[in-house]
């Protein structure tokens, strides 16, 4: 079985984002970028499946500007076999991403698509579900445990009330949650090796898919900052403030 893993290039999760002064978006220039942490978990899971004999090839795909090839190289350094880069604008929407991924799935015929449940930049949480709809495949979202068989997969999902177990037919889309695994670090030899792994780059326009944005960004603003609070000396003062000043208990 082949596993396709879409990976997104986002601002590194440790970076404090800054809104541009013209309110057109957030500042991306000279900001450290990294693979979306949820997608790292997806890559890791694909590699573990491959290592246990459950998959014979892991293909990483990333959609965005030329720099997204670095994100694919990270996946290759972790252990993915080859990469596909699709040149597209940085702010391409999940609906368009899902359409391009469907085209890739049609060409590559993977048995499973593993992807992060959401990207930490736009926080949309849409791409996996949209791709599943377009392919008419089953979806196992927010997975914290997986058991993959030939025709079906058991997925443990993190839901609001706790955990939910479902069985889905294969091929399928599985979107991964935080606690599925802890992604490995790429070793230096593997980073070197990754430079020689096959990576092709194609233009989004070659897929015959309409990727025109459907939403217009009117403005992007900083949220209102909270007024500075105070330090209390002890528990007594805290309880007193909560009772008599804030009146919340």
């Amino acid at each position: 079985m082949k596993i396709l893993v879409p990976v997104k290039r986002v601002i590194d999760y440790n970076v404090k984002v800054r809104v541009k002064s013209d309110k057109s978006g957030v500042e991306l220039a000279n900001v450290k970028m990294a693979m979306n942490p949820f997608d790292e978990i997806a890559v890791e899971q694909a590699l573990r499946l491959q290592e246990s004999g459950g998959a014979d090839e892991v293909v990483a795909v990333s959609i965005g500007p030329a720099q997204n090839q670095e994100t694919i190289r990270t996946a290759l350094a972790m252990g993915a076999d080859r990469g596909i880069h699709i040149e597209a604008p940085h702010d391409i929407e999940p609906l368009a991403v899902a359409k391009l991924l469907r085209a890739v799935v049609d060409e590559e015929n993977p048995g499973l698509v593993l992807v992060g449940k959401q990207a930490i930049d736009d926080d949309c949480n849409q791409t996996g579900q949209m791709l599943a709809a377009m392919l008419g495949w089953a979806q196992g979202t927010f997975a914290s445990a997986l058991e993959i068989a030939t025709d079906s997969a058991k997925v443990v999902r993190e839901v609001d009330g706790g955990l939910e177990h479902i069985q889905i037919s294969m091929p399928a889309i599985i979107t991964v949650d935080l606690r599925l695994n802890e992604p490995r670090y790429a070793s230096l030899p593997n980073i070197m090796k990754a430079k020689k792994k096959p990576l092709i780059s194609r233009d989004a326009n070659d897929f015959g898919v309409d990727i025109t944005p459907r939403l217009t960004i009117v403005k992007v603003e900083e949220p209102e900052a909270r007024a500075a609070g105070i330090k209390v000396a002890d528990v007594q003062e805290l309880v007193n403030k909560l009772k008599n000043e804030a009146k919340v208990i």
Partner: protein
């Protein structure tokens, strides 16, 4: 305008976040219908009909909808979509699972997790874990939207008298099957709707120490939450997690105990009215958002707090 809401429920009770979604729909205006799927008991449909502002309750009682499997629910919503300008669901794990599948079937771009309605086509939503707010304009004929419950008041759960309509049954997509749930049972209020929340972080050191927080929760009628670090460490189950990718809460009082205040945690609680932080590290970022900060060892401060509360 005409809005269809996907009712969130557990086949016995209406998820209160549905009421916040009704308020969001009211701000758009026009007719508001609500789809209740599954719900063999009929309790949820009866409750939905009483919500103030609802015109019609659509009931899809088929067993295939009982566990809200997206592969069955999304096509049902697609079939119902004709004539509606907006289809909304609370941004619960259920709404997040089903709505993008619906959006793709309708070939529309979803607007996730809205926090404000500017007009019927323009919405505000948080991005980058709430560190920026994006205002977006949608030209889609049908707007598929998930709603952040804490950003809208709850609609009155009584006073409405909606009509009901039973929908014809549909076929199982045959792609997925529900097996079982492992749900945390608690007598305490639900995290996302509790007026007071007390959360523990990595500083709690052990799951057993959460009993200290539970004692305070029981005195205050509070829910118990946790940071991602505490959940990752296995102190408490995943459904305790407050943060960017966990639950978003905005109670009257949020007590953060032994939580450093990582960006992704702040994303889930910084809209709380009053924030209290107890942490022994006076440099912890949580103090930057706290109204009242207490620099202390939580193993001294928490038992003392319990005593003070009487």
């Amino acid at each position: 305008m005409s809005v269809l809401i996907l009712c969130d429920h557990d086949n016995g009770q209406l998820n209160p976040l549905t009421l916040n979604t009704v308020t969001a729909a009211t701000q758009i205006g026009g007719n508001i219908d609500i789809l209740v799927s599954g719900d063999a008991s009929g309790n949820v449909a009866a409750a939905a009909a009483k919500i103030a502002g609802i015109d019609k309750v659509l009931i899809a009682g088929d067993k295939i909808f009982e566990n809200s499997l997206a592969e069955n629910l999304a096509p049902l919503l697609q079939n119902l979509s004709i004539g509606y300008s907006h289809i909304m669901a609370p941004a619960t794990t259920n709404g997040k699972n089903v709505m993008p599948r619906l959006a793709a079937l309708l070939d529309v771009m979803q607007i996730s997790d809205i926090t404000k309605i500017i007009d019927a086509n323009t919405f505000q939503r948080p991005i980058y874990a709430g560190n920026a707010l994006s205002t977006v304009l949608s030209g889609e004929a049908i707007k598929v939207i998930t709603v952040r419950g804490t950003a809208f008041e709850a609609a009155a759960s009584e006073g409405g008298s909606a009509k009901t309509e039973i929908l014809e049954s549909t076929d199982d997509a045959g792609l997925s099957t529900y097996i079982k749930s492992e749900l945390s049972s608690s007598e305490r209020p639900e995290l996302t709707s509790a007026p007071i929340v007390i959360s523990g972080g990595r500083g709690m050191q052990d799951g057993a120490n959460f009993s200290m927080l539970e004692k305070i929760a029981d005195k205050l009628g509070a829910a118990v939450g946790a940071s991602r670090a505490a959940v990752d460490a296995g102190f408490v189950p995943n459904d305790y997690q407050v943060g960017q990718t966990g639950k978003v809460v905005a109670p009257d009082l949020y007590l953060a105990v032994g939580i450093s205040g990582a960006i992704q945690h702040l994303a889930g609680m910084k809209d709380s009215k009053i924030i209290v932080a107890i942490n022994k590290d006076d440099e912890a970022p949580i103090f930057q958002v706290a109204d009242y900060g207490l620099v202390a060892d939580l193993f001294d401060a928490v038992p003392e707090l319990e005593k003070e509360l009487g």
